[in-house]
Amino acid sequence: MRSLGFRGILIALAILGATVLAVAVLILKPALLAYIIGVFTPCAAVYIMEGSKRRFAWIGSAAMTLAAAGPVVLSGLLDHSRFIMGDIWAWGVPVAAGMAGTAVAVIVPAIGEMMTTREQKEQFAILEQRQTALIAEWGETIKDPLTPPG
């Protein structure tokens, strides 16, 4: 629940930020829409690649892209002299941030999954060793169903 809540807040903030940016762009400088669509295209690709049920990597991608692209768009709106569409940093940094976000969203859960699985398998191995030891100590009868004494 806690992760979902946290995720929900992030999604809400992203949607809110994106909406504010989109509205501002539409009103003030519609030409920037091409930039926004352009920098968010990798996010869409991640969304599509991730599948319909799993929605985590794109969140990382979108959040990081938004965080990097948001100030660029803002500067584009406020600084009329800046030509964002031709600025390599304006493109490079959000796309790189989106890729980094994707990487974090993919790698960290995979590491968590791998570690807990390995830990569980180690516990199974210990259990198997214990079972083997119990059979060695008490014989095969320990596998038989328990019968009342006498």
């Binding site: 948001g70 803002l74 807990t116 830990e119």
Partner: protein, 668 residues
């Protein structure tokens, strides 16, 4: 299984003069079977010369008893050591192993100077002589016996011996050569005991000795024999009706000095009959209270059965049993019923009413027996030829084992549960003592087919030797005496013990028939039978008193291994099996039994196993579902990773946002 009815034991009686001189008895006594002493023969026991090796010049007499009657073995052992002039001292008792003949039980006693005083000598003693040389010594001996919880039970003129050549000193003869009162004529027994058959009188009490002593004193004082020349049935009937004093003795003949003790000792009323203490008081010169003379109240209408006209229930009971043909007709007809109604014997009428509720009428002899015990519950239990008190049932069972006719009657007695019929009537008189309860218990077990008739013998008669043909003439009265036979049977795998062996072991060793059956049927696997084998083996081992029993040890070892194999822990099991091997090699049956039945070891093993088994099962359930658990764990790990990733992303996003804003501001 040997059927006793088919194969009766054969007792090999010693041929006259056989056996050679000097058979050992105990450590010091030699019994010379070549020197019979016929003057001292007793009913059921022949007398032979015996000598104590330590004092070769002293002469003793050995009374040799065959196993066909119950010898008072335990009484004999308890009475050893009494040395008084009033009774022949018992020097040695024990089993006499006779070559070429079956074992016999011998009681070696002090040899009397002369035989019992002949009839012509009776009445020849002065009263003071009788008191000082017979009554006082006899009373002191009875006191010693009473202190050992024993009675004499055979006080009568022909069992009193002369201890000097002039016949002035008298001493009581042997008393342990048969059941108490076995050889006593009826006139020397109180009425209730006189009604019983010789073997069925029961152990009796000191007051019965008082009666016999009084009657013997009467004989010696007057020269008369009680009831002499009269019909025995008539005498008995008159005793019941008018009392022993009125029937048996001529009070006018009694010397005045002895009138009080004689009449007080043969009083039929137990409450007023002189006790031993009272007699000793009288001998000491005091004058105890004499029983008051009771008026005999004769009432009601007589019922004539045979030659007896009965007026009282006890008389009628005697008459019905004595004249059984007429008695059966009277019981199955209305005569007895009418008599009970006319004489208003409510007690009997109430009990007889129970029979009317039964659908099938019992045979006439059973109906007669029921009526007899109800009419006279204080008398013996009577059925056909049987007449015994509960305490005498053991001796009767002994006789029944040797007499097929009597055996059949005793079996019928138990199958008709006549002792229980008696108990209902006897309960009103407070007659259900320990012996009665034992008889009822035995009757229950036999009538319910739990035990065979042999059980009655060994459970009710602690002196009876084992009568199994398997003992081959050996005198076996201790379970330990059977061990050679048991050991050989186990060795040969022939464990079909006959009813006598089973009943004997059940009564004397506490080994149940089921346990003995387990010895036979033990297959080395069944744990219940193994437990029974161990239980029986332990009993045998106790009886063996350290004697080596290799075959039984082997059987016990097998049973112990079966029990030890129940242990769950292999290491513990192997250790205990090794210990059992060591104990078996040492022939230590008690050790094997202890090892195989140690509740601590088995309890702890079972408890540990249960705990370990629970752990194992829990672990196994986990391992059986490992794929699902791994999958669930993987999801949990991923969720955790996502949570961490979100936190990292949040930090990175904020950092990126702030960095971008910084650069934008700086550029501007």
């Amino acid at each position: 299984m040997v059927n006793f009815l088919v194969q009766r034991p054969t007792f090999l009686r010693a041929p006259d003069g056989a056996g050679g001189g000097g058979l050992p008895l105990g450590e010091h006594v030699l019994v010379d079977l070549e020197t019979p002493l016929p003057a001292f023969d007793r009913p059921g026991a022949k007398a032979y010369a015996a000598v104590d090796k330590r004092f070769a010049d002293t002469q003793h007499v050995a009374f040799v008893c065959e196993p066909d009657r119950s010898v008072r073995i335990r009484s004999a052992q308890r009475l050893r050591g009494i040395s008084r002039s009033g009774m022949l001292a018992i020097l040695e008792t024990g089993v006499l192993q006779r070559p070429g003949a079956s074992d016999a039980y011998a009681v070696v006693m002090e040899k009397p100077v002369g035989p019992p005083p002949p009839r012509r000598m009776w009445s020849g003693w002065a009263p003071r002589t009788l008191v000082q040389n017979f009554l006082k010594p006899a009373a002191l001996v009875l006191k010693d016996m009473s202190d050992r919880d024993e009675i004499h039970g055979s006080i009568r003129p022909d069992n009193v011996f002369m201890q000097d050549t002039r016949g002035q000193l008298l001493t009581l003869g042997p008393c342990v050569l048969g059941p108490v009162g076995y050889d006593q004529p009826a006139v020397f027994e109180p009425i209730e005991r006189a009604l019983a058959s010789p073997d069925g009188k029961g152990p009796g009490g000191i007051l019965d000795d008082m009666f016999a002593l009084g009657m013997t004193l009467y004989c010696f004082a007057t020269g008369k024999y009680p009831g002499e020349g009269q019909n025995a049935d008539a005498v008995m009937a008159r005793r019941i009706a008018y009392g022993s004093i009125g029937t048996l003795i001529d009070t006018s003949q009694i010397p005045s000095e002895l009138f009080d003790p004689i009449t007080a000792l043969i009083d039929d009323d137990l409450k007023s009959r002189w006790t031993l203490a009272t007699l000793l008081d009288w001998i000491a010169g005091r004058r105890p209270t004499l029983p008051t003379k009771k008026q005999v109240a004769r009432r009601g209408s007589p019922l004539k059965i045979g030659s007896i006209s009965a007026l009282e229930p006890a008389e009628l009971a005697f008459a019905l049993h004595r004249f059984q043909k007429e008695g059966q007709a009277a019981v199955t007809g209305d005569d007895v019923t009418n008599w009970i109604r006319d004489n208003d014997v409510q007690r009997v009428a109430a009990l007889a009413g129970e029979d009317k509720t039964q659908v099938n009428a019992p045979p006439p002899e059973v109906a007669l027996a029921r009526m007899v015990v109800r009419l006279d519950p204080q008398g013996p239990l009577r059925y056909r030829d049987l007449a015994f008190h509960p305490g005498g049932a053991g001796a009767v069972a002994h006789a029944a084992m040797l007499d097929p006719g009597k055996r059949a009657q005793l079996e019928e007695f138990f199958s008709w549960r006549l002792a229980h019929v008696w108990s209902k009537a006897a309960n009103q008189f407070g007659l259900l003592d320990e012996e009665a309860r034992k008889l009822l218990e035995v009757e229950d077990r036999i009538s319910n087919k739990v035990d065979k008739l042999e059980a009655a013998l060994y459970r009710l008669n602690s002196d009876a030797p084992c009568l199994s043909p398997a003992v081959q003439g050996k005198w076996v009265d201790q379970p330990g005496d059977l061990l050679d036979f048991i050991e050989a049977s186990v060795g040969q795998g022939k464990l079909d013990f006959d009813g006598h062996v089973v009943a004997f072991l059940g009564a004397r060793s506490g080994i149940s028939a089921a346990d003995i059956g387990s010895l036979k049927n033990f297959d080395g696997k069944d744990q219940r039978r193994a437990a029974a084998v161990l239980k029986a083996s332990m009993r045998f081992a106790v009886d063996a008193k350290g004697k080596s029993l290799p075959n039984l040890t082997r059987l016990c070892h097998d049973a112990a291994k079966t029990m030890i194999n129940r242990l769950k822990k292999p290491e513990l099991r192997e250790r205990k099996l090794a210990e059992s091997d060591a104990l078996a090699n040492a022939g230590d049956i008690p050790g094997l039994v202890d090892l195989a039945t140690d509740p601590d070891v088995f309890g702890q093993d079972q408890a540990e196993f249960t705990a370990v088994k629970n752990e194992f099962d829990t672990n196994q359930r986990v391992l059986d579902h490992r794929e699902a658990i791994v999958e669930a764990t993987r999801r949990i790990g991923r969720d955790k990773g996502q949570e961490i990733a979100l936190a990292v992303l949040s930090a990175l996003a904020i950092g990126t946002l702030l960095t971008q804003l910084y650069f934008w501001v700086m550029v501007r």
